[in-house]
């Protein structure tokens, strides 16, 4: 395992050197901008900057993180890099403090061919074999440093790649090679396979791969992927099966997803794969807080969902999902119903009911969301969420409530009041309140200022979860594109 050769060395960096590095970086950035503006018109640039600064009064700590992405294009070539600052990173991040150029790449693309050398993200199939991705909100970044080759043809797509994936603490793992071939003999039927070969320090040479097929029809579709691993004999065999199917009967849409993952957590430092969870991803805070952490070593389950426009300007959705381990222990179960209605004109309503059950407790949820167009550019939005919890082990009961009221003017600003309350006696605090201002400026700037308190809680995206600690203070996020 190696540290990245071109990034920060850790918290022991000389502050004066980091200052010079920042100045040099900005100077180069300006130079490139000026060159592309004044010079050859074929030289184009795109960039964005994401700045997050927070002052936590409770812990008396300040966090400053920044990501600057910049790419320069000339004809079929693209050069890009990402400069990052983590001084220090948020407490739920596994990154170490520091700054530097964390990503850089050179890309050549012409016609149906795309070749990139440097850092990239990618996915094979539905992620059973490989998924490299970034979810910045949970500070999850598993980019690959290597080479990637994509070729698109009317009859097939080919993807070949090799490199080292990054784990969450910034360490690059062993070199791997991977690829995917997708055959498209007719537009309705696709099938193919993917593979990955690498070496685990603890196991020696390992590989895994999958076969998949997809059938599309105007009345529905079916996707099936089955993956197997080839590990040394002394280690347990494993497999992963994922299937999803949509069926359309007029406006009625039915969805079935099935998963069966056994000994298929493919990790050494970095987790290479990230298969679908077959669990509904929710739109609201309290429902989303009870998301299960995916365990691809021992998980079986399914999701059923139906949606239908019962009235004009309305959609009703019902879903049920269930996950258990190989010992038939129920890990997660959810019943959910939602009604969206746009009535009368200028009003929008969403009502949702849900029952979630995990290893800890049973949760009953109710959500009401109301939006109103006050005038052409002004609008109001009120969201109320209620969750009743009953803990299995002790029968302890409590409820949580979240409410938010927002007032917006398009396209410039929104001001929101946010509040949360709990009757949970274990919690040190029973009320949290904050205010948030979101502003769009000059098309290019998005500024968010939050002040107040935020309750700690699990934050999950795509089956990956972090525990975000309690916060009290001010948080500023500034995004701009150039």
């Amino acid at each position: 395992m190696n540290r990245r050769p071109f990034d920060r060395s850790g918290s022991g960096m000389n502050p004066s050197k980091t200052g010079y590095a920042s100045i040099s970086f900005i100077f180069i950035l300006f130079l490139l901008v000026v060159l592309s503006e004044k010079g050859n018109s074929q030289l184009k640039y795109l960039g964005n900057n994401y700045l997050e600064y927070s002052v936590d009064d409770k812990t008396d700590r300040r966090f400053f993180e920044n990501w600057t992405e910049f790419s320069l294009s000339y004809q079929n070539w693209r050069l890009g890099f990402q400069y990052e600052i983590h001084l220090p990173p948020q407490p739920f991040s596994l990154d170490t403090a520091g700054q530097g150029i964390y990503q850089r790449y050179l890309e050549y693309h012409t016609g149906d061919l795309n070749v990139r050398v440097g850092n990239f993200y990618t996915i094979l199939g539905r992620g059973l074999v490989l998924r490299s991705f970034e979810e910045r909100i949970i500070r999850w970044d598993t980019n690959i440093d290597g080479i990637k080759f994509d070729y698109y043809h009317s009859l097939f797509d080919l993807k070949l790649l090799g490199g080292r994936a990054r784990d969450r603490s910034g360490v690059r793992q062993n070199v791997f090679q991977a690829g995917e071939l997708r055959l498209k003999p007719v537009s309705q039927i696709h099938f193919g396979g993917s593979f990955l070969v690498t070496e685990f320090n603890a196991l020696g040479n390992v590989s895994w791969g999958s076969g998949f097929s997809q059938i599309n029809h105007p009345y529905g579709d079916v996707y099936v992927e089955y993956a197997l691993k080839n590990f040394p004999d002394q280690y347990p065999e494993g497999h992963a099966l994922y299937a999803a199917s949509n069926l359309f009967v007029g406006s009625l849409s039915l969805l079935v997803e099935f998963k069966e993952y056994e000994q298929f957590k493919l990790e050494e430092g970095v987790t290479y794969n990230n298969p679908p969870t077959a669990v509904r991803e929710h739109l609201y805070t309290l429902l989303n807080r009870i998301q299960p952490q995916q365990n691809t070593n021992a998980e079986t389950g399914y999701l059923l969902q139906g949606s239908y426009p019962v009235l004009e300007n309305s959609v009703a959705t019902l879903s049920y999902s269930w996950t258990e381990n190989p010992d038939d222990l129920l890990l997660y179960e959810e019943y959910y119903g939602q009604m969206e209605l746009d009535y009368p004109e200028d009003w929008e309503w969403v009502w949702a009911f849900g029952q979630q059950k995990d290893l800890v407790a049973r949760y009953l949820n109710f959500v009401n969301s109301t939006s109103l167009n006050v005038s052409e550019y002004y609008s109001l939005k009120f969201i109320y969420e209620h969750q009743h919890a009953k803990v299995h082990a002790t029968n302890r009961q409590y409820y949580d409530q979240v409410a938010s009221l927002g007032f917006s003017h398009a396209p410039n600003w929104t001001i929101s009041l946010l509040a949360e309350r709990t009757t949970d006696q274990i919690s040190d605090q029973d009320f949290w309140m904050g205010a948030q201002l979101d502003i769009n400026l000059f098309q290019n700037y998005d500024l968010t200022i939050f002040g107040g308190q935020r309750r700690k809680g699990k934050l999950c995206l795509g089956g990956n979860c972090v525990l975000r600690p309690e916060f009290e203070g001010v948080e500023v996020i500034l995004i701009n594109r150039f």
Binding site: F30, V33, N49, I123, S132, S369, L478
Partner: protein
């Protein structure tokens, strides 16, 4: 740390001075549609304005915006407007995209960017993110997030593009 913050606020000011550079060519890309066929941006230019909207089934403002984009599409369909609704739903939720579109009868070209690679090419951070291209593929207007009323500004921008394409058309264009 204070010095770093100041320095990066300086970087942020680059955006203010380079707003004119919105006139960049959009990066070309290839993405699969809901039937698995590849859609290549450069092969679909010169038909009219192209509205690219990055969205996800789990994103509340995206869902609100898509309802309005349907009206925008119906208004400018005759002018050759293409709406590319690029879903960034990951493998976890991508199976739900077609169901979502079918129930709501959205007439857009829906593409799947399951690893957000194309969204990153557009330097977009979070959905919803909208980029309006002229028929030659030059970025004319971008906007992130959605507030009720944003679609009216978008309609004005599309009308400006259509007007540029058809200068003889004297239909009224609202001031921003």
């Amino acid at each position: 740390m204070r010095r770093c913050i100041v320095l990066f606020l300086l970087i942020c000011t680059v955006g203010a001075f380079t707003q004119e550079t919105m006139n960049n060519a959009a990066p070309d890309f290839v993405l699969p549609d809901l039937k698995g066929n590849n859609y290549k941006l450069s092969e679909n230019l010169n038909q009219g304005p192209i509205l690219i909207n990055f969205w996800a089934t789990w994103c509340v403002p995206c869902r609100e915006e898509m309802k309005k984009l349907k009206d925008v599409y119906e208004k400018f369909e005759g002018d050759g407007l293409q709406i590319l609704a690029i879903s960034i739903d990951d493998p976890k939720s991508v199976s739900r995209v077609r169901s979502f579109i079918n129930t709501r009868k959205y007439p857009f070209i829906v593409l799947l960017d399951t690893n957000s690679e194309v969204m990153q090419l557009f330097q977009a951070e979070n959905p919803p993110y909208t980029a309006l291209l002229n028929s030659e593929g030059i970025i004319f207007y971008t906007h992130s997030g959605y507030r009720k009323g944003d679609e009216k500004i978008l309609e004005d921008k599309i009308a400006m593009l259509v007007q540029t394409k058809n200068p003889d058309d004297k239909s009224e264009i609202k001031d921003e």
